[in-house]
């Protein structure tokens, strides 16, 4: 498996996979890490620069207390794919307000900005079907100061 740098200032990079597509993403904190994972996922589908930030959605994800951060990441990405598919929207701005761990579970709150899909304007590159658990990662990097993660998508 080889990493492909697509010059996105290392917020995320695409990861080559023999039949599907993956991303590796980075963040100074968990919130930023999750934002960059979302940007990476939508960058597989469309050039983010072409997606105007005109329509807002608020997202709340609740997970059980026994799930890992990688599971929370899957819930987050799946929720974004759900909104994309049901509302027919693409998103390019992700503001994760907080990721908290409480005794009764994990919670993620975010607002996302984008617009309705317009095929005249948005050239779709590869539609993402779902994030997979295959080679899934969310961890601190070697320096211990930054977060990094990886997801392989079914496309």
């Amino acid at each position: 498996m080889r990493e492909i740098n697509n010059n996105q200032d290392r917020k995320f990079i695409q990861v080559d996979h023999p039949s599907d597509i993956g991303i590796r993403f980075f963040g100074n904190d968990l919130e930023e890490l999750f934002e960059n994972a979302a940007s990476g996922m939508f960058s597989i589908m469309c050039n983010l620069q072409k997606i105007a930030q005109v329509d807002k959605r608020n997202i709340i994800i609740r997970g059980n207390s026994n799930i890992g951060l990688d599971d929370l990441l899957i819930l987050w990405l799946e929720k974004l794919l759900y909104v994309y598919e049901v509302d027919k929207m693409l998103f390019s701005k992700f503001r994760v307000r907080r990721i908290n761990e409480k005794c009764d579970g994990k919670i993620l709150e975010a607002e996302i900005l984008g617009e309705k899909i317009n095929l005249e304007k948005h050239e779709i590159m590869t539609a993402v079907k779902a994030p997979t658990y295959h080679m899934l990662e969310v961890k601190k990097d070697k320096t211990g100061s930054r977060w990094t993660g990886q997801v392989i998508f079914d496309v």
Binding site: P18, E123, I124, A130, H134, D154
Partner: protein
């Protein structure tokens, strides 16, 4: 050494010896020639075959078909038959696009009949079929209608006036998989599926107008209603967002219960639960709903294609003889009967990118095909060809009645996008081969370029020579619609 030993059984069959230290409960069997095997080793796909061999209850072997390539969890082209009493059901062994599959319709046209107006036919069909990202189907299905669709499958669509009554007899399970329970399908899955009935989707999904370019078995071809130069229509699509959501929902559930059932796996994407556990039964009920949705989806796509051809050719679909030859699912788990060690046993066969291939005489294939075997549809890439094959008796012993489902990827999508330009590919297919391509996305088209796939002829010949299915006809594309 790579931590495994490969033993040659024949020129097209290899065994990965069982290695208990790697958790293997059974050996691996790969149907491939030396070159394809080497490619699978380079991609590390063998590791995925070994991982599947560790599933509780797996019987005889972890199989890989000749179009094997690296997937996530299961390899694409992977087959695992599981003991119902002691074994597991795995959503990853079915995949996100539950019951993704292919169908072929015949016509009474020959290729020269449509040569002049091929472009108008392709564009005409392309506007009648919702496709690509963000497309909405022509019908909205909610509430009790959705429940009925998920439970009854193609009979629901026929009742609504889509397709022909006899179509269902040329589908696996007559267009309705038993055991479907919409209560096990989440609201999110139903939401995603509500406006996607009769939509092609994107990626490797397509509608092709083809011609029969070669016949290998004239008796069988005649029973299937195929002859040289005849025009056929092939449709490849699946269960769309509804299936993707069901797979995701149940992967999560099965991760949560794995410790309860003391299941340890080498890849989280293989998450599973005992077949007879409450979680296993719920997944099966939801998966069967997705299978019914997928069959309805392909059925409605064929319906719009028939209407479109009627309007372009000014003849009725009946007078054009646009009957369904067969419809197969290549991402599915099914209960089937096999004779194992002298005993008839019901087992659960997972096929992740593999096609069921029942031989002659099997009661679950349409009566008119029972003398020759179940039609197997193997789509190739858009620049070469596809095949119609038939299931064999031998496949029951060799591969739990399974065979290949396509060519299999050779080049990654990112590599294909870098090396190939969609516009140029479209032009070349037209100028060099006369193939008319209509595509929603040019980079999506580049990912599906012929050079990104293995040689379908080689893949099909291996399946044929291994005896797990046999060639009947080759179909060459005349026009291609991509999502």
């Amino acid at each position: 050494m790579n931590g495994y030993n490969i033993k040659k059984i024949s020129d097209c069959k290899w065994e990965i010896e069982k290695n208990e230290s790697r958790g293997m409960r059974v050996p691996g069997i790969i149907f491939a020639d030396k070159k394809l095997l080497e490619h699978a080793e380079e991609e590390k796909t063998i590791e995925q075959v070994i991982n599947v061999a560790s599933l509780p209850g797996i019987l005889k072997a972890s199989y890989a078909m000749p179009d094997i390539h690296y997937g996530y969890g299961f390899p694409i082209g992977g087959v695992a038959a599981i003991d119902i009493d002691d074994g597991v059901i795995s959503p990853g062994g079915v995949g996100f696009d539950i019951s993704c599959g292919v169908r072929v319709l015949r016509t009474n046209l020959i290729s020269s009949d449509i040569k002049k107006n091929l472009s108008s036919i392709m564009y005409g069909i392309s506007v009648s079929i919702p496709r690509g990202v963000g497309s909405r189907g022509k019908i909205l299905v909610r509430g009790s209608q959705m429940r009925e669709l998920l439970t009854k499958g193609v009979s629901w669509a026929i009742k609504q006036g889509y397709g022909w009554e006899e179509d269902k007899y040329f589908m696996e399970e007559s267009g309705c998989m038993e055991g479907a329970d919409p209560d096990f399908v989440s609201k999110q899955a139903k939401d995603r599926g509500s406006d996607q009935v009769g939509t092609l989707g994107s990626g490797n999904h397509f509608l092709e107008i083809q011609k029969v370019s070669e016949i290998y078995d004239s008796k069988a071809a005649s029973i299937l209603g195929l002859e040289k130069e005849q025009v056929t229509i092939m449709i490849h699509s699946g269960s769309r967002g509804l299936g993707h959501q069901i797979c995701g929902d149940y992967l999560k559930l099965m991760q949560q219960v794995s410790s309860k059932y003391k299941i340890e796996l080498p890849d989280r994407q293989l998450a599973c639960a005992p077949v007879l556990s409450p979680e296993g039964k719920r997944y099966y009920g939801a998966m069967a709903c997705a299978a019914n949705y997928a069959m309805v989806n392909r059925h409605c796509l064929a319906h719009w294609a028939r209407l479109s051809l009627e309007s372009i050719l000014k003849k009725s679909a009946r007078s054009l003889d646009l009957g369904l030859i067969y419809d197969v699912s290549h991402n599915i788990a099914k209960f089937e009967m096999y004779n194992i060690d002298g005993k008839d046993r019901k087992v659960l066969v997972h096929r992740k990118g593999a096609t069921r291939a029942f031989g002659p005489g099997h009661r679950d294939i349409p009566k008119i095909y029972r003398g020759v075997g179940q039609p197997v549809i193997v789509p190739g890439d858009m620049g070469s060809c596809s095949y119609i094959m038939l299931g064999t008796e031998k496949a029951a012993h060799e591969s739990f009645s399974s065979t290949c489902h396509g060519a299999g990827r050779l080049m990654s999508r990112t590599k294909a996008r870098k090396r190939i330009r969609g516009e140029q590919l479209k032009e070349e297919l037209f100028t060099k081969k006369g193939i008319v391509v209509v595509a929603s996305s040019m980079s999506g088209l580049a990912e599906e370029a012929p050079q990104a796939y293995k040689d379908i002829n080689n893949v099909v010949n291996i399946a044929h020579n291994a005896g797990i299915s046999k060639k009947v006809a080759k179909l060459e594309p005349l026009g291609v619609i991509k999502g």
